[in-house]
């Protein structure tokens, strides 16, 4: 007891003392010693590449030798680049798909799970599994299942259901992007279930009691108690999806690489192809700037609305 008091006094005393100037230099450096490994790393991994990445957008550069400053010329070129606009519009389609379907599936899954007592944990683990698997793994599994000769398609064809899955879905211009999105949703929705379930578990039970006393149906309880209570979580996931949809890369790259004829091209794959296959790093940088702007707008809009007093 005495020790606790002494400690509390010591803390109090330390807080009152204007001690920032009095700390000896060695101690200041000591505190920074905790930081320098991460600072050095961040410099190499994040800070320098970020600034350089944005900077090369204003240059003509192959990735080797000296970059040549060309102002906004890369952006002029972007404005006339049909492939870029195709990728941009694919990113927008992707965003629309991911802002709706997985959110619905996630809410439904979490709502159903929140209402059961038996086996909730097992369901949660199972739903979460695709999310922790590598994109390469999930992509290969679905490349196999959706292959027109070995997977689900031939089975359906055998049952007489033809021309739906027994075609090369990843290879057709009309279906490639949506098929990739399907695989990515299969991998992603369990993550939303888990996040929403955690949020729903934190909702005050009394709110439901009150709603029930008022004669609210199950759906009304969901609509007027659950949804408003977990709104911050939903808004947060919407923001994450908005960010991830701008930068989506891995599933598209692994499954189609933007083919056929750029039908499933997104900005991420176009950037990669431009930088590492066509050695046009400056132009790739300009694509990256557009992606960064998208992300900055999403985050900025979120912060702005919050500052304006929106309860998001």
């Amino acid at each position: 007891m005495a020790t606790v008091q002494a400690t509390a006094q010591a803390t109090g005393a330390r807080k009152v003392k204007p001690n920032e100037q009095k700390i000896p230099l060695a101690r200041v450096l000591g505190r920074w010693a905790f930081m320098w490994p991460i600072l050095a790393l961040n410099l190499i991994v994040i800070v320098i590449p970020s600034i350089a990445g944005l900077g090369i957008a204003f240059t003509e550069w192959s990735g080797y030798g000296q970059p040549e400053f060309i102002g906004l010329a890369n952006f002029d070129r972007l404005m006339q680049d049909a492939v870029f606009f195709k990728s941009l519009s694919n990113n927008i389609v992707w965003t629309a798909i991911f802002l709706t379907i997985p959110i619905f599936m996630g809410l439904l899954g979490a709502y159903l799970l929140a209402g059961i007592k038996r086996g909730q944990m097992i369901f949660r683990v199972l739903y979460f599994i695709p999310f922790v698997l590598a994109s390469v793994v999930n992509a290969q599994v679905w490349r196999f299942l959706l292959h027109h000769r070995v997977g689900i398609g031939p089975w359906l064809a055998d049952l007489g259901i033809t021309d739906i899955l027994d075609v090369a879905l990843f290879g057709k211009a009309e279906t490639a992007l949506y098929t990739v999105a399907f695989v990515d949703i299969w991998h992603f929705w369990g993550f939303l279930v888990v996040i929403y379930l955690a949020a729903m578990s934190a909702v005050d039970v009394e709110l439901y009691e009150v709603a029930r006393l008022d004669g609210a149906s199950r759906f009304q309880q969901f609509r007027y108690v659950t949804l408003p209570s977990i709104r911050p979580t939903i808004v947060f996931t919407l923001l994450m999806i908005l960010i991830w949809s701008a930068t989506v890369f891995d599933y598209v790259y692994i499954l189609t690489s933007g083919k056929p004829a750029h039908a499933s091209e997104v900005m991420g794959t176009y950037l990669y192809e431009t930088a590492f296959f066509r050695f046009d790093a400056g132009y790739a940088g300009a694509i990256g700037v557009v992606m960064t702007l998208w992300v900055a707008l999403a985050v900025g809009g979120f912060v702005f609305l919050r500052r304006r007093g929106w309860d998001v």
């Binding site: 007592k117 369901f123 793994v137 055998d158 909702v203 009691e209 947060f236 991420g268």
Partner: protein, 298 residues
């Protein structure tokens, strides 16, 4: 806490069941049916792929077209695909990936924990700006974009096709720094002061006082770093294409183009790559979920 709430909800619904037994049973029947459909959507694709990985390659086609139930269970059980895979050096890739992931957890864990501690406990000029800069840059600027200069930087160090090139850029992890910062900031000041009054250095405080009570955050951070390194594909493909340095994910993705598509081998590789995160997540899912929900959803 969530358990308490669930049991309350459960109690409420069982009370309801006594009132209207038929309707409640019907409802819970629908709920479980839907939930099980969800499980099938997750599990069947993985089972199908696993069965194919234990099937001779020519039979993979035979059973699927026309479909028989044999496609879901490996009846002509064979290790052929796995044997071929290991004969081609897949074991090396597994060892490489384990080494890389464990090194990332140990070194990255230490580095990120130190930074998280400094951000969580120390007051120094520019701390918040620094923290915001690191977090914002790593979340705002797309990885695809930073990969170009990062590649060039790593190349200029002569680190292409080296362990350093594979390892070092994966060490700093903003999410993990964030996680550590939250956790360390919540530790009661008294605990630290007591030791500081006794003249312990900060490093000593960190090792003998903080570390023993940090199990949840250490497990969560370790899991996040291990799984993300185990699953990483893009950077290793870019920076270390040399055969001796290939990781599991790169080996699998290259197998597609290199050998035509030998389905059973491709899927065997995928199953090996899948087993590790699954085995980690089943026992530790709670930590993993708490880490993700705790960081983003403040």
């Amino acid at each position: 806490m969530s358990d308490a709430i669930n049991s309350t909800t459960a109690r409420a619904s069982s009370a309801k069941r006594h009132g209207k037994p038929l309707r409640a049973t019907f409802t819970s029947g629908i709920v479980y049916t839907l939930l099980i459909i969800g499980v099938l959507i997750v599990v069947i694709p993985l089972m199908w792929a696993m069965a194919a990985s234990f099937t001779p390659n020519h039979k993979v086609f035979e059973y699927a077209y026309p479909f028989t139930w044999r496609a879901l269970l490996p009846v002509d059980f064979t290790m052929e695909a796995y044997d071929n895979l290991f004969a081609r050096g897949f074991g090396r890739a597994i060892a490489n990936t384990f080494f890389l992931a464990i090194a990332t957890v140990i070194i990255g864990g230490a580095v990120n924990a130190l930074a998280g501690f400094a951000f969580g406990r120390f007051e120094f000029r520019g701390k918040n700006v620094l923290f915001l800069t690191i977090i914002m840059l790593s979340f705002l600027v797309p990885v695809d974009l930073t990969a170009i200069p990062r590649y060039i930087l790593v190349n200029s160090f002569g680190w292409i096709n080296t362990w350093q090139g594979l390892l070092i850029p994966g060490l700093a992890n903003s999410l993990v720094i964030f996680l550590f910062r939250q956790f360390f900031a919540d530790i009661p000041q008294e605990l630290i002061d007591a030791a500081r009054v006794d003249g312990a250095t900060w490093l000593r405080v960190l090792i003998s006082i903080i570390l023993p009570i940090s199990k949840p955050v250490l497990v969560a951070a370790g899991l996040l770093m291990f799984i993300s390194q185990w699953n990483s594909f893009f950077w290793p493909l870019l920076v270390a294409p040399r055969q001796e340095l290939r990781v599991v994910q790169v080996e699998i993705s290259l197998a597609v183009g290199q050998y035509g598509t030998i389905w059973n081998e491709l899927l065997a590789g995928s199953m090996i790559a899948a087993v590790v995160p699954i085995l980690l997540v089943i026992p530790f899912q709670r930590y993993y979920v708490e880490a993700i929900t705790g960081t983003g959803l403040e």
